[in-house]
Symmetry: none
């Protein structure tokens, strides 16, 4: 397993940051609808969506937020960490074709309790679309054998 691990709790410090970006396409929205079962017409039906305050179809909030999980699980802290909790505030809509950047910044590192707190923000250009905080458990570096 250690081959895949990028950071142990011993390696982490507040202020460390990582980002993952992805363009949200029609196909992402469709797959997310299939995997979640969320067929809300604001995501799938142009005519319905154009009559809402969004004036057009938008991506699922949890699809956008899933990019946070990508940073946590693949970059910082990366494989082996355990996702304890996440808060999400949906600040602005994301439309098909928008490119979302999810950024994770460590704010607290408790090496004794192996706990990490992170600020987790998703942006499109200069606008924050999802703001939140994640808590994780990260294992200690194994003692040399």
């Amino acid at each position: 397993m250690s081959d895949e691990v990028i950071y142990y709790i011993d390696d982490l410090e507040p202020g460390m940051t990582a980002v993952f970006g992805k363009t949200i396409t029609e196909a992402d929205i469709l797959m997310f609808a299939g995997a979640s079962g969320d067929t809300n017409p604001v995501h799938l039906d142009d005519e319905f969506a154009s009559q809402t305050m969004f004036e057009g179809r938008i991506a699922h909030g949890l699809l956008v937020s899933s990019l946070i999980s990508t940073v946590l699980g693949t970059r910082l802290p990366g494989p082996g960490c355990i996702y304890v909790s996440q808060t999400l505030k949906f600040m602005a809509p994301v439309r098909p074709g928008d490119t979302v950047k999810a950024r994770v910044t460590l704010t607290e590192v408790d090496k004794e309790k192996k706990r990490v707190t992170c600020e987790t923000n998703c942006t499109v250009g200069d606008r924050t679309v999802v703001a939140g905080e994640a808590k994780l458990m990260v294992q200690r570096r194994p003692a040399p054998e």
Copy 2:
């Protein structure tokens, strides 16, 4: 648009509840990995995952949580509601083949501010796997023309 709307804020009362169930399959995990970019080996790599505390592959926490969005967006309050925020505590792992039930229960309905608060829980059998709370904005019933 009103054809698709199930509930206006006027129709909602604390205690109303709705559920959506789905078996989490390998295909769901794959599609979620594709749409999110979250390729953490704990979700995709049997050998890696079997060496973690989970002793096998688990579904993404946000994939499991996405069933909450399905209830909110398609059943209660249903199409037309605006997702304001969500908190999520990941309590226990979900494995491929597990059937998750997401249940939404309204806890506060502020008809003046058009705001609703809900308890949002996901269970596998009797075990809570994700616990949390959602806040939404729900429109008023349009005045008759």
Copy 3:
């Protein structure tokens, strides 16, 4: 199971109606091609399709028709009903970007035989694109225990 059931045969009357709308995107056509194996170039190949009487790519007739199954299986009569038969007349082409509304209207309800007949129409704007009829079996409300 009864949590998910919306209507029993006892609850149904001729004239009841429900609708589901969805914009047919490139991604839908691609996924339907993948799941069905239907790689007819009139759906996938702009150059071929532009030389047909349709003068451009069109969605699969059964993809458009699948929205009928969505209404039947999720809204009216909803979960628990059994799909007995369906007739489909393909009246006009649907192009990527068109928003299709599938409408189901109950025409006959035989409470003794637990059989329902429905008119099933798909429209784009004012134009009917698929016309047809479905027959279903719907269970009786369970006797109180």
Copy 4:
């Protein structure tokens, strides 16, 4: 266009037949759910489905039927034909992992009106799961230039 065309109406005779086979996987069911919006729990939720007469999850009837469109649009008569109508009787359930064979057999060929009628059957092993009939329009061979 003629490069892709397999048969013109001039080439068709009653009795001609073609088949397409495909194993219906979890991924097909998930993609079909996304593209159609049909999240009926009999397709997606093991616990719900195990309490129905099917005693487990089944594929969408129109997903199974979509293999007919594959034969018509890619093999017999193939690219360039126009789908006029389809009838479908759902005779038996198809489960994830079942291999479906869709067979099309021409029953009437009206060269004057450029119309073809076909028997369209889907089978799993020896059991017919969908029976029906399709009508198509097929173009005449272009006159040599």
